[in-house]
Symmetry: C2
Subunit: 267 residues, 2 copies
Amino acid sequence: MRSLLIDLDGVLYEDDKVIPGAAEVVAWLADAGIPFLFVTNTTSRPRHALVDKLKELGIPVEEDLILTPPIAASRWIVTHVPGPAALFVSAATKTDLAVPELDETAMEGAGSVVIGDLGEGWSYGRLNRAFRLLMAEPPPVLVALGMTRYWRASDGLRLDVAPFVKALEYASGRTAVVLGKPSLEFFLTAREMLGSGAAETVMVGDDIVSDVGGAQRAGMQGVLVQTGKFRRQDLDGDIRPDAVLGSIAELPGWWKSTAAASAERQS
Amino acid sequence: MRSLLIDLDGVLYEDDKVIPGAAEVVAWLADAGIPFLFVTNTTSRPRHALVDKLKELGIPVEEDLILTPPIAASRWIVTHVPGPAALFVSAATKTDLAVPELDETAMEGAGSVVIGDLGEGWSYGRLNRAFRLLMAEPPPVLVALGMTRYWRASDGLRLDVAPFVKALEYASGRTAVVLGKPSLEFFLTAREMLGSGAAETVMVGDDIVSDVGGAQRAGMQGVLVQTGKFRRQDLDGDIRPDAVLGSIAELPGWWKSTAAASAERQS
């Protein structure tokens, strides 16, 4: 039984336009009873807003089928780290962080220090509080909601979560656990939710590094679609996708043909 | 002709107390006509304030004899980088940065982006402005006034310059030129000011990594004093000082004995 992980942005839609055939593919997945999960690094809006967006695009899905960094971090923290979490995240992200939270003024006692894209919410005092919490004994775990370096706003580039994680890593001498593609922990969390083995799981995405490379390093297959951020040069690098599809619309055909080939090898 | 580089904090004084014999050693250096320079990573006060402090401790010195990160950065920038410098530094540090400055609101056109310990002066907007300047074309040089990770204030630990440099390095994919011990550029600048060859220059400090290790990697001798931040364990690591002195007070004796030994070898 094979399972699927599917990226959202650039795979199901580009900006606010659905990729032709995407809705039909998602309906096919449900009909065929194929276990699947949407995996995205988006933290700018809570999961219910992603559900709303997909619905508007004609793709009705349950919230439980979407894995974002805060959802993955919640699972990871609850499983691995005792004690309350100190949250340095936006209000939208906080909605999806189902973890016991440390008091906002406490300067010690954190089991984990969770860093997201706080944007204008960052100040010296706030970053320094995260640092002091990290330096307390016993040392809490530093958790990063992805490692995106920056994003392009209408008025220019804006620092995302990663630079602040790097600042805290360097200051504290600690290494962050990253819950976002392409980190191993993120893909492991996705597989746990699906209940599927690595070799039986296929990741479909438009990012050769985050989606395809990350999946392959986690022992899964990585399939690249030529929509979204795909560029011709992506195929000239070191990362070799297990398949390259024109778009998500070609997924059912590829799925059936590889299933047939696999059945033939086994017979 | 041998020359000397001497650290200030922990070598000439500890907090506000002069190390016994330090004033006499500095007087001896001047009398003996030995070229020397004080080299410090301090950026919390301008150079003239360091002169005042030394004077109070009974050690009169000229400003020109003190090399700090902003002084070194000024020399390095003027020599290596055309165009104005965008300054992200404290008011105290700005006093010592003798470089053409970019307008504080400009979002491009920087020849260099200079990062110091801004402390509470850091905000998301300010760090993001440094980032956008770095991403402009042609790309400016990222200059760091040392790589101190944090310092201990009366109310607890406080992030220093390095975490912000690391954030900008990671976001921009650029590597900073560091003008502060133990960077090679800093020691080269010191030697240029002294006009001395590496093999003829001796660094005296209390920091096994910044002072002794940095000097040795720059091809100079590194002498460790057992005052200031010195700890017994410093002698158990990979860095081997060329000499270990109880304090700066023992410098003239060591200097004369090594000079005599050197003269003997040459005769």
